[in-house]
Amino acid sequence: MSTIPALALERLLEGEGFAKKPGGVLLSGLGARLTRASELPARSGLFERESLAGWLAAMPAGEALVELSARRSCGRFALALSALAAATSSGQAAALVDLGDHLDPQGAQSAGVDLTRLLWVRPRRAKEAVAAAEMLLSAGFPLVVADFGLSPRGARCLPDAAWVRLARAAEARGAKLLLMTPWRLAGVAARTAVSASFSRPLWQGSGRAPRLLSGLCSRLTLEKDGRARSGLSETLSLPMAGSLAGS
């Protein structure tokens, strides 16, 4: 990940409307691009590149293994599709290892994924998912998204060495591996770890009026950035793409 010089970062944050904290020290690395949740306005439908979600969606080269752990309905799958959309729309090939067989091609297409450039692999077990991810990295895919579903059976039995091996395979080929897990699995092998929590659905309508689901909010937290423990967080806002009939 390229480091932004301090001055440029300062201008960037000011340009985005982020007030510089008086007497504050500019952070470096990924943390420098983020602000506290209280300072970050909720986005709707579009990720800013300087946000954590935007960074996850368009990870720069050199990020070998990034892990996003989140419980269900916290926006994990939406971020996976964003990353795939960013890669495939720029002409790159990408692979999705979909352990739970959860992909909705129509939904992926509306999220901007170029399906012709996407290889969809549907393993049945966690062990197969790890083996498939390693094969895909070896084949030269620049981005591999491995989603471990909602309750991956056998994932806890995977040895730590498997994740280290995956990270090394990605690093050796300059590829990016985005692990989407319901809980932290990769441990120390993950260069960057992000978690999503505190999911809050957004409903239209109140009282006795009919309700309509309009989106989802959750909190993204940078758990680990390299060797540092950042703890920075932001609000992730995901609007509804369309009604069921349109999906």
């Binding site: 419980r71 090939a93 909705d104 969809w120």
Partner: protein
Amino acid sequence: MRLACIAVPLFPLAARLRSEPDLKGEAVAVCEGNGNAARIVAASRRAREKGVGAGQTLPQARAILPGLLARARDNASERAAQEALLEAAEAFSPRVEDAGDGVVYVDLDGHPAFHESKTQNPKSKIDCELRLARDLLAVVEKTGLPARAGIGASKLAARVAANLPDSPHVVPEGEEEAFLAPLSLERLAPELAIAETLERWGIRSIGDFAKLPEGEVASRLGEAGRALHATARGIDPRPLTPRAPPLTLTEGMDLEWPVTTLEPFLFLGRAALDRLMARLEAQALACVRLDVSLALDPDGHDARAIRLPAPTRDVKTLVTLVRLELEARPPGAPVAGFAFTALPDQPRRSQLSLFGPAALSPDRLAATIARLAALLGADRVGSPRAVDGHRPERFSLAPYAPLPPPDFAPEPRRKSRGLMAVRVLRPPVPIEVIASDKTATDLRLLSLKASSPDASPAISGSVKVAAGPWSLEEGWWTQKPADRDYWDVELSEGGLYRIYRDRKDGVWFADGVYD
């Protein structure tokens, strides 16, 4: 006309050693026949030094050399070796004749190196042809066959030159008779009766025989004697008969003992696939379909066809596919021999871009997809496609063949899209729903839980907010119509689900999780 002859001495033995390279350097003999009647066809140098020779019976040879390793003559190995020899020759000329038993004739007319030698003096021409013959031998050696080469104006001269000990040997143009004259008459392999007659006449060399008047030879030895006399004078009217290149390539071997387990078979099979892929690589081809033919003990046959998603030469992938195929459908009897036949195709090529994103290597991609298909099943790897319709679970899968990347990488978007996604639950999870008002139009959902305690994912909780119903009706004219009422449900324990009730039988399902 200039022809090259490539001859593999002791061809049955050379073919066997090509299939079993571990035997090289050992005292080995290849036999034909069964039991004590088996006769030695060819023996290795180490065995010959001890006195073992062609024509001996196996007990006789074993009496001389008890530690002699005997192998039966292997037709599959010999066929594959002959094909490999022909393919090596075809790297030099499109006109190649298959003379069988390790002998191949190559038409050198038109070869660039040979064409160059025509303009030079005779000494330079011979040097040029010698270099060409050495190149030929170097290519043949890569196929694992020891060969000799001879170049001459006729097949006879080239063949005799190839059988001389100082290989490669070139017979200058117009000097065929002079070349043959000092050689022993045995080089022409005369018929036994004619050989005995000539022996009685005291004729030992080809030159002595060539000096005899043609008419007298014909009147005494007949048509066969006349043809032999013409040969002795260096006259060989036989034209070169080029072969049509085969559509497939085959490698295999007959096993000494029938194999009953998979691992020994794959050990031998990997070596055969290595040789097959090397042959394909030499022709810049790759395998798009692999046919596995098994000879079963005592009398049977089994054949399989393994189709590959794209042409590949990756041996590891092919071995994995063969393993999975045989594990899925075992042959049912011991395997006494096998043959792998590759249907060749042009490997996919990719053009690297200077400024755009790098394309995947087609060869590696094909090998990876084949391995993934072998690991997970062919229906679980591919490129997803959107399908017309309204059922949320619909999808189709197409073979993965990505378009080439653009020449210039597009500008990265300032903002990327972030929309709430739905995880489709395939198959839908049956659930039990408790509702307060059970009317078709107004249904207040109170709580829900998965019907089975082992359901994955586990779904349970009281309903915090519910939105719906939305009706979906599709395919009423088909055998499997969809007639559903959908709700979006937020549970108090967390989780946002898409559930539906089948209007036909009233059963509830969860078919998606908003994420």
